[in-house]
């Protein structure tokens, strides 16, 4: 048992020396520069995506506010082309509600995914 350990130890030392000579050098001298340029371009893309998401939230907010204001105006008893505006309100509420929910879902998903996958910056 002891002898086997010595044999294994000697064999290990020899291999240590042999494999120690097998470390490879990166053969492409511009590796670092190319990699850094890819990283910098990723950071730029990242910033642009973040800005677009912020803009999307802004316009979503503006659109929702505008929709609410419109629904208040429509709920009045005025008549346009012989149609009572108050009668149009229910279908518009439904359509508007669905659109708001769909957009909100997409935006939330986008924001969460973006934060999950790109935590740097």
């Amino acid at each position: 048992m002891f002898l086997m350990e010595i044999i294994n130890k000697n064999s290990d030392d020899k291999l240590n020396n042999l494999i120690g000579e097998s470390k490879l050098e990166m053969p492409f001298s511009d590796f670092e520069e190319r990699l850094m340029s890819r990283i910098n371009s990723k950071i730029r893309d990242e910033k642009s995506i973040s800005r677009n998401i912020r803009l999307s939230w802004l316009f979503f907010g503006l659109g929702t506010t505008f929709g609410l204001l419109l629904s208040v105006i429509l709920s009045s008893e005025k008549e346009v082309l012989g149609i009572l505006l108050g009668k149009l309100i229910m279908p518009l509420y439904i359509i508007g509600g669905i659109v708001i929910l769909l957009f909100a879902e997409q935006l939330i998903k986008l924001t969460i995914n973006h934060k999950k996958h790109h935590q740097i910056n």
Binding site: L15, L18, I19, S22, K23, L24, L35, M36
Partner: protein, 185 residues
């Protein structure tokens, strides 16, 4: 030192990542080469691994060494690429030779450049798992536990692969040198 650079990168200083690239690019490339055996593919994998590491650096918890974490990414990408290329992962040797000889006679008398050349040729001949195990264990001087952490193999699996790799390494080296001698004569 290394931790400070990692924290700087997490804080938004991308240039600090250069330190990690300079320090680990050669070993990361060596690890990738052990698996894919092709310089261009290995370089691509090394690049992808560094980018993945950069993107996920904030998830790095400093519980293990950065090198262990990076090499694990390299190994995963390399084996995924190998699967894509549908290369044979089987060993060069269909059966392992139990009566393997130790280091071939006269190998010591070769100069360093020749020795490095033959060793790397043999490591290219060995199966991806075998050459990876040898390089991680002997070249980067990792323990069996660290090799397990990097490769995701079980302890017993690593020991078996290392045992087979040692045998095959010597056999392949002897065979290669004999062939070279025959060619010269």
């Amino acid at each position: 030192m290394e931790e400070a650079y990692i924290k700087r990168v997490i804080g938004g200083d991308a240039e600090a990542f250069r330190f990690l690239i300079r320090k680990y690019q050669h070993m990361a490339f060596t690890v990738a080469m052990s698996v894919v055996k092709d310089e261009y593919t290995a370089e691509e994998i090394t690049q992808e691994a560094f980018i993945k590491a950069f993107e996920n650096l904030s998830k790095f918890r400093f519980q293990s060494k950065f090198s262990t974490w990076l090499y694990r990414i390299v190994v995963n990408l390399a084996f995924r690429q190998l699967k894509k290329l549908k290369r044979q992962e089987e060993s060069y040797f269909s059966t392992t030779n139990d009566n393997f000889s130790d280091e071939p006679d006269g190998f010591d008398s070769l100069n360093k450049t020749d020795r490095t050349y033959y060793i790397n040729r043999v490591l290219n001949i060995l199966s991806p798992k075998e050459s990876l195990a040898l390089r991680l264990f002997y070249l980067d001087e990792n323990s069996v536990e660290k090799v397990n952490e990097i490769t995701g193999w079980s302890a017993s699996n690593t020991k078996v692969i290392l045992h087979r790799a040692r045998k095959n390494f010597y056999s392949a080296l002897s065979e290669l040198l004999q062939k070279e001698v025959k060619t010269i004569l």
